[in-house]
Amino acid sequence: MNQPQTQTQTQQQVDQLIQSRYKAGFYTDIESETVGAGLNEEIIAMISAKKNEPEWMLEWRLEAFHHWQTMVGPDWAKLNLPAIDFQKIHYYAAPKQKDRPKSLDDVDPKLLETFDKLGVPLHERARLAGVAVDAVFDSVSVGTTFQKELKEAGVIFCSFSEAVQEYPDLVREYLGSVVPYRDNYFACLNSAVFSDGSFVYIPKDTKCPMELSTYFRINARDTGQFERTLIIAEPGSEVSYLEGCTAPMRDENQLHAAVVELVAQEKAKIKYSTVQNWYPGDENGKGGIYNFVTKRGDCRGDDSRISWTQVETGSAITWKYPSCVLRGDRSAGEFYSVALTHNHQQADTGTKMIHLGKNTTSKIISKGISAGKSSNSYRGLVRVAKKAEGARNYTQCDSLLIGKTCGAHTFPYIESANPTARIEHEATTSRIGEDQLFYCQSRGLDEEEAVALIVDGFCKEVFKELPMEFAVEAKALLEISLEGAVG
């Protein structure tokens, strides 16, 4: 074997390794249309005009913008957050196309290829996968599959822009009804500049015939992604919704500030699963996405149920607290989470369960894994209001430390104003047991495999809540993300 060949081989191996760590890190060279950087009324009016929005929508955006100007960014999270220059961000970027494609056949093949590479079934493979997908590329939705089949069932699943055009009354009724624009700094920013997202409406007594999924992709440089998802489940309906996200590897940080609103009417069930794999930055903490998301579900009707499942492996900084407002009697909220941080990643994530109705129940299972120089915090609130007779909560949050330079923190707020409520909270923090490692290794696993196996077991309770394909992806993601964490 001669010397240069070895070098090439080594280089290839290195490249492969880098690729395997963050497979979604490629960039699609596609002609795109971007509005100038900066945030002001003109930019907001421009976004609104591009989407051909009705007057009330622009007014709502501007109200939000004016309110946002009076707000200051949150500083309570355990995050080392560099100041963000909001005037440097481009608030709108879209792949160039003449008209909105009528069907997937009209979509730029380059875009389809991108989603294909990411394993998102948009085209022919979609039929096999049997999952309806709305694909969001930078600021716009590029295509939604299975629309016809869903329509037959009465289900509306389309991009947010389309919903504003086609179903303005529904959007107007529900937009901001769960997360008002005044809610918090980033939700307010999103309300002013959001560009697209998904809209789901499940009519009464309908079980959505297939799983719905949105895939978010940030592609363009110096842009932020501000999407909004609204899911309305009418009485007796049921839906399972999946969300995935990736971005190219870049040295600079990019902002993602989304809002998700769920409304569950009487006896409705919504299951919302996320595998978050935004680019986390490199091993020195350079680059990566700032993921500041407000997700909230409102169990408005009696006996309704909202379940959040999230696997968070990406993003340089995560600030996210999917919550449930348990308004209806006997309504139930669930939160299952795995948050993994490695290298210089920071996560401050958790949930809020607000018990307002009688005999409401909530369950929180949170698993945090910290490796490298990362910081991983669970922050949760369980609040039982005075009238929430018989409310019940169970919380378990466990943290696993891998390495000496990471941090794992737990900040649970528990507030009870009703004497019939029962609240239990448990938390543990520890490292991977040496005896566990030793046992696995004695059975022939190497250290990395052993750690992956133990971590997989640690997260089992959450993974089992995920739809099958997602569970497989989540497990693989975790293993990749942990590469290099031991030894």
């Binding site: 891998i402 000496k404 941090g407 900040f411 507030e415 019939t420 909270h425 938390a427 520890s430």
Partner: protein, 404 residues
Amino acid sequence: MSALLERLAPAAELPRDGFTELRSQAQKVLMQHGFPHRKTENWKYTPLTLIEQRAFAGSLDVGTPPAPPALPFDCAVVHMHNGEIDPSATRLPRGASLTGLVADDVDVDALVADGPNDAFAWLNLARLGQGWKLVVDEAVKRPIVVVSTVDADFEGAVHPRLHVELAPDSALTLVAVQTGGGAGLHNAVLDIRMSERSTLLHAIDRSGGDTAWIEHATVRVAAGADYRAFISDAGGALTRQDLRVSLDAPNARGAIHGVATLEGRALVDYHTAIEHHVGPSESKERFRILADDRATGVFNGRILIVPGADDSHSEMNTGNLLLSENARINTKPELEIHAEEVTASHGATIGQLDDDARFYLRSRGLSEREATALLKYGFAAAVFDDLEPGPLADWLLERLKSRA
């Protein structure tokens, strides 16, 4: 400057003595940052409106203080009335002495490091009169009891300060008996420094009455030293206790066991922190709150393990009973872990008395009241399980029984 600041820390000329510089520094911090409010994370559950409503205008009685309450065990008593100690009335056992505080005793750097949020600790320094230092040189057998009382019509604001220093290998049982009175402010600072291998058993029995009772306590634990606190608090109009235990050297141990039994409109807010700065070190915390009537109980327990403090072990457990539909419990057990070779855990529950247990006791002939009292007592007394049997334990349990 807010009206409260004007009332509590008027920019009047400060007395000229060794503390002048410290006072003026503290005054500056206060002027700049003011008092906490609802949005201040560490004070979000403590309604300071109560303090804002008070005038603190009453003049303090300089007459002979009333006799301190009698205690059913052999002890030496230091009586602090309306924030003042009369050293001539104090007899301490051999190995312990009480002296006046000097400016060098105040670790202002630590206060600066904590930032401006500890507004009441800064206020204490800004209005500091005569501070005291209790020095313990050897193992003192007889418990020393610091009795703090105020007049029934006390409406002023006092800012007592007590430092406790334990020499290497010394030991002390320090009991704080604190009884509030009128609608004033008792804003105390307690600074405990424990040298190598010293041990301190620190018992607190408190009922704040109408007095806003705020205490800011810091305990620094050196190598091999052992700090244990046992607290029984009946709360008051506003009771706020900050207790920070800093395990500064290898083999330091810290434990906090506390119970608050609240009735009427009582409010307690306990903010405890156990900091593991070096390993190996060990800590334990158990806290119970029983809230009845319109009472509010707040517990914020923080465990910090800093980077490199490997082999630190910590467990925290907080249990709460909500006994009335108008009572409130807010609890936040925090873990902040920066080291790998550690174990840390916490558990928290909020609930009510078990109907089955109550039914069982009723079936054995106890009245509803007796059954409830017994169950409450059983729940509360569990925090004193680690206290050695003896007159002190008997007294604490007896006090608890009368409150449950």
